[in-house]
Symmetry: C2
Subunit: 263 residues, 2 copies
Amino acid sequence: MTQQKLPDVAFMQRLAAAAAAETLPLFRSAALIENKDMDGFDPVTAADKQAEAAIRALIEREYPEHGIIGEEFGAVRQNASHVWIIDPIDGTRAFISGLPVWGTLVGLKVDGAARAGFMSQPYTGEFFVADGERSRLMRDGHSPVTLSTRKHHTVAEATLFTTTPALFGTGAMREAWDRLESKVRLSRYGCDCYAFAMLAAGFTDIVIDPGLKTYDIAALIPLIEQAGGVVTTMDGGTAINGGDVVAAATPELHAATLDIMNR
Amino acid sequence: MTQQKLPDVAFMQRLAAAAAAETLPLFRSAALIENKDMDGFDPVTAADKQAEAAIRALIEREYPEHGIIGEEFGAVRQNASHVWIIDPIDGTRAFISGLPVWGTLVGLKVDGAARAGFMSQPYTGEFFVADGERSRLMRDGHSPVTLSTRKHHTVAEATLFTTTPALFGTGAMREAWDRLESKVRLSRYGCDCYAFAMLAAGFTDIVIDPGLKTYDIAALIPLIEQAGGVVTTMDGGTAINGGDVVAAATPELHAATLDIMNR
């Protein structure tokens, strides 16, 4: 086990600010409205790359021995004890639709486990961060709030999110989703990383997203775990490498959810 | 035709502020986390009622001859030349899930037509307003921005929103939705009133929501029309009384959408 102190929240705030300088000017910009590219959504791809490059540059300068895995520029030193995992714009569809529910995700994996990370939403000024011990929402102009998941232990009490049920396909996985959805109090679609942040904050109880990559979830695992929740893949294993991800507000709710999904 | 001058934007801002004083303290509050009522979501219902009462009180004082229709307290003087139409919290599911995409909607109908109105999102500080001539986004700490819909005239270029495809049922209406969804560039679920505001702002091209009430749409019609868009029911009639609503960024796109839906 590595004994080294975790990078502090101030460093993660610098990473978020560097990313925001690249993403926020494009959000709701004329460049997006005028973009006619049917396939690439090119201005967003450019902002994505610039934001990841800015984050990587800061990490390389402060922690040159750490590894980095990013959505846009791949992996370096991924066998280091500390590896940063970056998704510069999670929720690209929300971003291009003008909705303030996308985020910049940066997680820190230490000896294979998700230990710290943040989701930053610069339009709303929200910075959801896990520092290794606790999760907090730090918002421009407001006092930090320590996050804690809601103690709804049963599926019947739960609010459930997924990005879109289309991700479950049409086979057994979709049947499992439909079975779960029929038992919850409320289900809702959309919102990508924002739904996971709301789970950490106590306003949503279950989030299920199939087919995630490591950079879609690495930052969100410590945010949820350090607020009291549980995140695994559908078979109960670690979600640090992505996969079909199930996050729940309590261990009891997580077990009940897996039980229904895997029945 | 009534010649009377429309109430000004400052008055609508006062309505929004009065509603925000009731809604914002509850948004992401401990009261919501602790609420165990499975049916009524009671704290939200209370905020809904208090916000509508505050709006109605201001209208009664300034414009006692105007009519009022509200989600929570029904109708008074609804045959007046001027009628205000209120939904204190549109997007209750977003509200209770902690997502900043709900809104307070107030529309003004004059001689039967939607002439002015606003959507207010107090957490993000956004105030989307139509004053009778133009639509603007006024945001705390930022200069007002005049809104204009995007000029994507074809369905193949369009981004499409609906609250959830479940609203279309399982019959011909769902087939019509699936047909349309298969032809667009991008489709997305969720977001209620916020999707209509993004259409007015040029970031989304088509929004379809079946089974709306007058208070779900009255405020949004002038916002979209005065930004260059078109809002009707599925059969091409006025949407001021609600119904199956189709909003599109341009007349051409609106015609093409109805054509596909009604084929």
